[in-house]
Amino acid sequence: MNYRDPKLRDLLAGEYAMGLLPPRARARFERLMAGDPELQRLVADWQERLAPIDRTAPSVAPPRRVWRAIEQGTLQRSFQPTQGAGWLHSLAFWRGLAAATAAVAAALVIYIALGPGPARTPTVLAVLADNTGTPAFIATRAERAGEIAVDPVRPQDLAAQKSFELWAIAGGLPKPLGLVSATPGQPLLVPASAVGSAGTILAVSLEPEGGSPSGLPTGPVLFQGKLLSN
């Protein structure tokens, strides 16, 4: 087909907007369109002309399960690279981080073992690091049995009207565990049973003050680490 004939181009744009091009012809047309801004404009004009017909379809509220499925489907992708800006910039970062975190954790355990021992040696359960592998938060076994304490290792930068929120991620939806302080000394205490088993990922995301309004992370994940044991 001669895709340079202006009349044919407009006709194909119209048939494309109608949804009448068979799958293969449509795929071909879309490839063509990708590098042809004028063709894109022709299609947009047709969509504009025909769009009033869409509005004659009565709106119908979809059942809630559709949104739940969308949330589930997209959350898993949130931890993978996306086109353009993503929570995490690359999968390599994510993989590298796990290694860095494990190394940091090992170093910390040694440090704690060799250091001038406090009365009670805290057991490090997880180290949450930023995207350079620098540790930011640690999760330790709390003094009270059955609790885990999460505290920053040093003061963290946190903008006004923002909060750090801790999440446990074990395959499904992230589970909110509470807000963590940006300054050391006021650890967040969570029941160990709420955190999950070894291998669970602990992540801290940046949220509006008071935490995510939706019960799911809305801001970027800034720190994360794997639970080494529980």
Binding site: E15, Q40, Q47, L50, A57, S59, A61, P62, G219
Partner: protein
């Protein structure tokens, strides 16, 4: 204007989605999903399939938000385009042609659809006037294809007319609609 404000709001939410803002994503869904679900139901006539398509579209929106280009049209137009193509594909995959043939009443209701007082009503009125200038059967072909996702083959069967004739009806109708709407 009412329609412009709504379009601006959707655009702001879409920008949020590009930034991976899940609250914006949820709000975009709340605003757009009922209209999209209605369109999917009209094409598929089957709730479960319409739900699947709606889900696929929003997962694709999250994945490909960055490829949305506001210069190429409104957010709603983009969403409708993605949804219609997916719904039509699914309809085409059904084994039996007969399953896909709907009833005529809705189509007649469509040509006589009551317009409302907002801007969207005005756009519909202009299109209806131009559709009214087409001959009856070519007009049916256009509406069955656009609103119900009929293929050329289905149009030929439904309108008991050779496929070549149906194709040229649609083409000529598109040319006439364009002249009428742009003129």
């Amino acid at each position: 204007m009412l329609a412009d404000a709504a379009a601006e709001e959707l655009l702001a939410l879409m920008r949020g989605v590009v930034r991976r803002d899940r609250t914006a994503f949820a709000a975009l869904y709340d605003r757009a999903a009922p209209q999209l679900f209605g369109i999917a139901l009209r094409i598929l006539r089957q709730r479960e399939e319409a739900e699947d398509v709606l889900q696929e579209v929003f997962v694709a929106v999250w994945d490909r938000a960055a490829s949305f280009d506001p210069a190429r049209g409104s957010v709603m137009t983009w969403l409708v385009t993605v949804l219609r193509h997916r719904a039509i594909d699914r309809r085409r995959r059904r084994a039996h042609l007969e399953d896909r043939l709907g009833s005529e009443e809705d189509l007649l209701a469509l040509t006589a659809a009551a317009t409302d007082e907002t801007d969207r009503g005005a756009g519909l009125a202009a299109l209806q006037k131009c559709l009214g200038e087409l001959d009856e059967r070519p007009r049916q072909a256009v509406l069955l294809a656009y609103a119900y996702g009929y293929t050329h083959e289905e149009l030929a069967k439904r309108l008991t007319t050779p496929i070549g004739t149906v194709k040229s009806w649609v083409r000529r109708s598109l040319e006439r609609l364009k002249r009428c709407l742009d003129g």
